[in-house]
Amino acid sequence: MSDGVVVQSLSHKWERFALRNINLSIPQGSYFVLLGPTGSGKTLLLEAIAGAYSPNEGRIIVCGEDVSKLPPERRRISYAPQNQLLFDNMTVRKNIEFGLHAKGIPEQDRKSRSNHLMDLLGISQLVNRFPRNLSGGERQRVSLARALAVEPRAVLLDEPLSAVDAETKSSILDYLRRVHKETGVTVIHVTHDQLEAASVAERIGVMRNGRMLEVGTPVDFAEKSSPETESIFKSDNLIRGNIIGKEAELALIDTGAGKIIEAITDRTGQVMVHVKPENVIVSKQSVDTSARNRFFGKVIEVTDLGPTIRLRISGDTRITAIVTRRSFFEMQLNIGSDVHVFFKATSVEVL
């Protein structure tokens, strides 16, 4: 696969912050997520790629062309900032067609391109509305359409889910997946939320303090996170699976080794699933409960978190549970204890 966006030894110093020796190679057409806590420098890296400033050192290469010295308008990289920054003085259509208008594309072509994108993103009904009358999710989709309309070599998305509620989040994630699949554009998506990252990314770059700590697939991070990235990408109960069918409203997710997790979702194909360790119930006996998912395993690690205790349980699949200190002692749990674990289908997040 040819390289879409390459960052070579990029360094830049500000008064109180610096990006240090960042190297990155993002294949053309792939979905890349920059993950890191607030203040890790991910937005600044995104702005360097967009051309907001010229880095002190290093190069940025897009589709084989060194763009380090080019102004933003000649890089063909669309930037969609965190607060969208739609053009308030223009309708939704004018917003989406803005870049095409700037390039002198004839009206007929502009229209057919914007119509197609509005269709793809489900915003056709907003065509003549002004940005001030749109909801957070609608604004985000307009911003996305505006970025895609110019057929850029890459799209930069800064925290695209920051301004929307939980329900809208999953629908926007669906749109992002769909749009990426349809257009095949290279996407660089910035977020601080590891579940969001695991949900859409083909590859993830984890940043902290202006450095790129590690780059890998979501599965890489879920299965063997390093001590350095553990605090940013918590791999607890993040499991790769494949949706193999449906049974009475419940999706059956094959996690390998023949173990099935039941969950509620409309998704199909490859997915990542996540269960909060607080939602896992631990028992010494096998008991009948309403929980759809049950596993058997051995406690292999015990960590004291103060009021709670974290148990890592190895068996059919690796599960982490968090129990209260009181339960831990009453149940006389310890390393090597045999336990049954349960979690409800409704507490499984399908990413």
């Binding site: 967009a50 933003p72 930037y79 900032p81 607060n83 920054l85 053009f87 803005f98 700037a102 930069l156």
Partner: protein
């Protein structure tokens, strides 16, 4: 109106009292001026060619000043608001000087450079262009005393604009100029209009510097002073010849015309907001 239980009635009463004093000081002279003028006096002023041409000259020159302030002040305000560069705060302070010096001092300062024997004045004089006592001189003077308002308004508007807005536009392939016209300007035009109104209002009120730079042709403020100094407040007619239409009448007329222009601006502004 029912007051909510949390309404601080005594506090608001004291504030209202103090506000009332200021409001009286601001409004009573205007009201009294209009009251002192008479309908017949206003008609007299309206029929006086000297008064009419002075008022027209004021409207024309201050309008021209506002236009020049927008054409040259928007670029300067943009640069000051957008970029950090060495000497930025020095320039920022320098453009505020005209607002802080007495008007006669401004006139003296202007004459030391635009006077026919002085640095710039002499050069223009060589081409037969005088920079004192003509319309050009009036506009030069008015720009000096009033353009800062436009620059400051634009500068503040640019500062409050998210710099990423222009980055978004340029990342979509729009040039800096296209971005400025289609994205930046529509976001700051309200401040541009406000700056232009302030500049225009300040320009039409100038008299001190004009005494020195352009005593004639007389704008309204100078004519009003001449009428007051020569004939007092009221009209003066001798043997059917109008010696003075009355400084108070010309002044009242000036207020009505300025108010009309101001209201017109506001209406246009409100219409564009819809």
């Amino acid at each position: 109106m029912r007051l909510s239980p949390g309404f601080p009635i005594r506090f608001v009463f004291v504030l209202s009292l103090l506000s009332g004093i200021l409001f009286f000081l601001l409004f009573s002279p205007v009201l009294s001026l209009i009251g002192t003028s008479s309908l017949s006096g206003l008609l007299l002023a309206l029929n006086n060619s000297e008064a009419l041409s002075a008022i027209a000259l004021t409207v024309y020159t201050s309008g021209l000043t506002a236009l020049v302030a927008v054409l040259l002040g928007v670029p300067l305000g943009y640069l000051l608001g957008k970029y950090q560069f060495p000497g930025r705060s020095l320039i920022d302070s320098i453009i505020e000087i005209p607002l802080m010096i007495p008007h006669t001092v401004a006139g003296i300062a202007l004459i030391t450079i635009f006077g026919s024997a002085e640095l710039v004045g002499a050069v223009f004089n060589g081409y037969g262009i005088k920079l004192t006592n003509n319309v050009l001189a009036i506009v030069l003077t008015l720009i000096f005393v009033s353009a800062t308002y436009t620059v400051k308004q634009v500068e503040e508007a640019i500062k409050s604009l998210d710099p990423k807005l222009e980055l978004v536009s340029r990342s979509l392939g729009a040039s800096s100029t296209f971005t400025f016209v289609k994205v930046t300007l529509p976001n700051i035009w309200r401040s541009v209009v406000t700056g232009a109104i302030l500049t225009w209002a300040r320009a039409s009120s100038e008299v001190g510097a004009l005494f020195i730079m352009a005593y004639y042709p007389a704008v309204a403020s100078i004519l009003i002073w001449n009428l007051y100094a020569g004939y007092g407040l009221h009209e003066s007619i001798s043997n059917g010849v109008v010696l003075s239409p009355g400084s108070v009448n010309v002044a009242a007329l000036m207020i009505f015309i300025n108010l009309a222009i101001f209201i017109m601006f506001k209406l246009v502004q409100r219409k564009r907001e819809k």
